[in-house]
Structures are given as structure tokens and as C-alpha cells.
Amino acid sequence: MSTDSPDTRPDSLLGRVWESIKRHDLPPQDDRARMRAVMSNLLLHLHPAKVAKPAIRFNYTFGLGGLALLLLSILAGTGVLLLFVYTPSPESAYNDMLALQTEIWFGQLIRNLHHWSGNLLVVVAFLHMLRVFYTGGFRSPREFNWVIGLSLLLLVAAANFTGYLLPWDQLAYWAVTVGSSLLGYVPVVGDWLGRLVLGGPEVGAATLTNFYALHIAVIPLVMAGIAGFHIWRVRKDGLTVPRRLDEPPDRKIERVTTWPHLLGREIVFALIVIGLLLFWSSWVDAPLEGAADPDHSPNPAKAAWYFMGLQELLLHFHPVFGAIVIPGLALVALAVLPYLRFDIDAEGIWFRSRRGRGVAIFGMLVGLIATPAFVLLDEYVIDLPSLLPSLPTIISNGWVPLAAILLLLIGYYDMVRRLFGATACEARMSLFTLLLTSFVVLTLIGIFFRGEGMALVVPF
């Protein structure tokens, strides 16, 4: 090569290859280069080049959205590995699980990682929703992204439910029998829907095929698409900025480059989570009971833990109400939340305002006391169907208690507004907190306080 050659590339072949991959000087040396590095990288440009400094404070978002994405990646990776050693048929599924745990190198570890990541994802996605709600993160223009997020939460539940059947053990068989029987209570099309999902009248080979296809192809693909859209909307709508109670809304906000301020935190957090997951999965095995036996329901036959709140509702209400009406109402209410009037300027403030914090705690306390009280009352004192023997149970154990509870909730909302002088927005948040607490308490009762025959027991 002559010295006046226009070729400015490195001399070595390897150097040229590396240069052609990375496109820029790495690591970037000044802020300008750092911003360009983020913008021109396929993965990194999910982030803006600069972010508001307070918005990346860990104790504002707790990294929950990013954590959900990390868990999805781990689930995809471990899930693909599991595909290589599993056959979805009643004859082989359970034996494949045994082989996975005893014969395949790191089989138990990969299964544990997949199992615990899936469980953790339910918690993380739910907490992410709560964080967005309590910091007012769903305000305009982010209403629709809240609805998208809600659909992702449902997809996470669907992925968990379909995956639950695949080990084909007693736990799987009966949890899915119970869960899919709920479909039968959908008005008009229930029977048809149940048979479509199960591929027949009872859980069997066709069900396993259906759930397998849903779990490994349909749900992951749909979820990847919707999650991509969700993240794209976050990027386009911008991050909400946290605010302390005494800060004015129009204060000056310092902005820092994404590289390294946000990226550094994300990488450290991801490494910590991966480390903890590996540690946990090395010590705690995913449950596997005896092979599925359609002749014997275990006692008690419980659903997966995240459906325990629903199962507890089923013990108190007619199934149409416990499984369809009440969850349906809750979902519609959640979807509508961001479209209601948000009448105080509280974006980025945890629990809206000082008074908001008060009524949130009040809602939690009421939920903590009222929920166990109602469960005990219904279990031992009030027996609506025998008090109203002339009515069918769908009225005496459905419409009547639901109407009573709705009236109580309206009364509660009114009381919070009067007693605390709360705005509609704060009172709504207090009501949300009350219902959230009830849901958590019902879930805990279902997990820990239900024993044989679903009777109330004390676990300690």
C-alpha cells in the first residue's frame, strides 16, 4: 500500500472486521459520542440519548419494566432449551420431566430457572403496574400504553397457565381441570369455548397438544409483538419524572446522557438479578408431584398460587360471579382508569399528594381488616343460599352479595371524600388500594389458610 492511500482503516484484518461491526469509536470519549453510540445502536436506541436525571432514580421505577424484559429473555432462552428434551404427549411428558431432572446435564437447573423466572414475572409485571398507577404514570398521553400493559399482564397469566399443564403431574392436571372449568361458566358460549380449549370434554391428550402450541408459539409471538409496541410507546411518550411533594411541577430538570448513567444501572441491576436467580434455582427445585391421575383429585386441589385470589372468590360466590363477573368488572375498571379525570397535578408524585398518602394507608387498613372479616363471616355465620332458599344460588350467592359489596364500596368512596376532603382522584386511589389489599389478602388466605376440603385452617 502506498502512503497516500485514502484507506484510513486499521492495518490488521481483524482490526478491520471489528471496526466494521462496531461503527464508532468504543468506548465513546465525550458526551456527543456517547449520545451517538446510543442512537445508532439497534438495541440501545430503545433508549433516548439523554434522560432526566431524577427519572432514572432506582427507587422511582425499581427497574420493574426492565426486569420484566430481562425475565422474558431468560424464559425464552431456557424455554428453547427445554423444547429439545420434551414431548407433549400424555405417555411421555411426565417421563421426560423425570429424565430432565435426573439424566440431563443441568436439566434441573434449566427447569428451575424457567419455573422461577415465570413465577417472578407474574410478581414483577403486577408490581410494575402498581408503580405506574401510584406515580400517575398513566396520564395522557400514556393512557393507551397502560391498556397495552394490561394485556401483557393477561398474556403473562396465560403463558403461566398453559405452561402449568406441561409437566403432566397431579398438580398440573387438576389445576388445569379446575381452571378450564371456569370457561364453562361464560354465558352462552361457555361449553363450546371449554371444549375448544380442552380439545374434548375433559383434560387429555388434545389439551396437552393445544396448551403446548399456545405456550411455545402463539403466546410468545404475540407477547413479543405487544411488548415491543409497549416499549416503543414508552420511548415515544417519554419517561415520567418523579417529584417530591414540595417541588413545583415546572422546576428545572437536569438531563444526563443515557450512556453511562442509565445503562450502567441497568447492567448492574440485571447482573444482580441473574445472580440471585441462579443462586435460588441452584437450591430450590421446581415442584413435581406424581404422574397425572385422572381418577383421583388431590385434596386440597389448589390452582397455581397467582390464581388463589380467584379461587378464594369462587368459594364465596356462584362461579359465574367468582370467575366471570367480578374479574371481568375488575379488568374493565383497570382498563378505564387512565381515561378518568385526573384532576390534580400529581404526575410523578408517589400516591398523588400528602392527603393521597393518608387515604392510601386508610384504604390498606380497611382492606386488611374487612377482607378477613368477610371471609370469616361467610364461612361461619352468613349462609345466603339457606337464608334465601326460594332463590336460585346465582341470585342468592351472586347478585345479592355483589350488590351489597358494590354498595359498601360506593359508601366507602363517599366517606373518604367527606372524611378526608379527598379529591375524586385521591378517593379513587384509596378505593383501588382497598381492593388491591383485598385481592392480596384473598390470595394469601388461599395459599396459606386453606387446607383439606378447602376448609379454613391455621398453618402454624
Binding site: G200, N210, N299, P319, T393
Partner: protein, 160 residues
């Protein structure tokens, strides 16, 4: 008024395209649903079971037949009844509890009388039943027909 009612060629084409698109989506949806619908052979257990002679079952007895997924019940008065073991609440297999003389569902605590009547909710209706046929002292159960009922009654019971 009259002008807005007139359909222009552009409007007509818009509607036609829209309708064709909607029709295509409906057809695609129909094909997918039909493709995924369960095979016609429904009952894996749907045949007629010959379970034994009348005198094999003493009055006041409950005998499980796992292959047919039913209990053959002989009530104290000698009447026969075949109950589908699937709980009418959420589909668990309901075991017979000899000591209490009831069917007790392990999943959500529903309890049923030997004739299938609900003693304890949450089950919304009595256990489903299958037709019992008694010919020349031989008891048969037709598991191809699942009979749902809102209340129990004397019509459910077959006497030899």
C-alpha cells in the same frame, strides 16, 4: 340533505372494499376455528357399560367404575342411579366418602347426597347422571348420554 344521501362512486368503492375485507377476515377466522375444533369422536368413555347383575349391588351401596367415570348408586329403597363423577362446580373427580355417606369434592368442598343432590355449595346443580338400563336382571350404564339436571327427582331412579 339530498346531496349527503347520494352515494358517490368513491363511497361505494370504500364500502365495497371494507365489506370485502371484513368478509375475508371472517372467513379466515372461521377456517381457523373450524381447524381447531375438537374431533367428532367425543366420548373417550362414551360407550355402554355392562356392570353386573342387580343382586351384585346391595341396597345402600355406591360402586365406582373408573373406566366409565361413573358411580353406580343403589339407594336404600333398591333404586339404581349412575352418577358422572365430574363435579358440577369445577370438574374435579368427586370421591365417595363411606364414613359420612356423601360425595365430598376435594377441590372446593361441595358435598352431594348419594342421589347426587347438592348438600353443600359451591356446586350449582346436582351431579350429572347417565341412563341406567336394567334388562333381565343385568345392569347397564350408557355413558354416551350425559344428563344435566337442576334438581333431583324420582324420575332419575330406575327400579329393577
Amino acid at each position: 340533505m339530498s346531496e349527503s344521501k347520494k352515494i358517490t362512486r368513491r363511497d361505494f368503492l370504500k364500502i365495497a372494499w371494507g365489506a370485502a375485507g371484513a368478509l375475508a377476515l371472517l372467513e379466515a377466522g372461521g377456517i381457523v376455528l373450524k381447524f381447531l375444533s375438537p374431533k367428532a369422536a367425543e366420548g373417550e368413555f362414551g360407550g355402554v357399560f355392562t356392570v353386573g347383575n342387580v343382586e351384585d349391588f346391595p341396597p345402600g351401596s355406591v360402586t365406582p367404575f373408573n373406566a366409565g367415570r361413573f358411580y353406580l348408586v343403589r339407594l336404600a329403597d333398591g333404586g339404581f342411579l349412575a352418577l358422572y363423577r365430574k363435579c358440577t362446580h369445577l370438574g374435579c373427580a368427586v370421591p365417595w366418602d363411606q364414613t359420612s355417606g356423601r360425595f365430598v369434592c376435594p377441590c372446593h368442598g361441595s358435598e352431594f347426597e348419594p342421589d347426587g343432590m347438592v348438600l353443600n355449595p359451591p356446586a350449582p346443580r346436582p351431579l350429572d347422571r347417565f341412563p341406567v338400563i336394567i334388562e333381565d336382571g343385568v345392569v347397564k350404564v350408557d355413558t354416551g348420554t350425559i344428563i344435566q339436571r337442576d334438581r333431583t327427582g324420582p324420575d332419575d331412579i330406575v327400579y329393577p
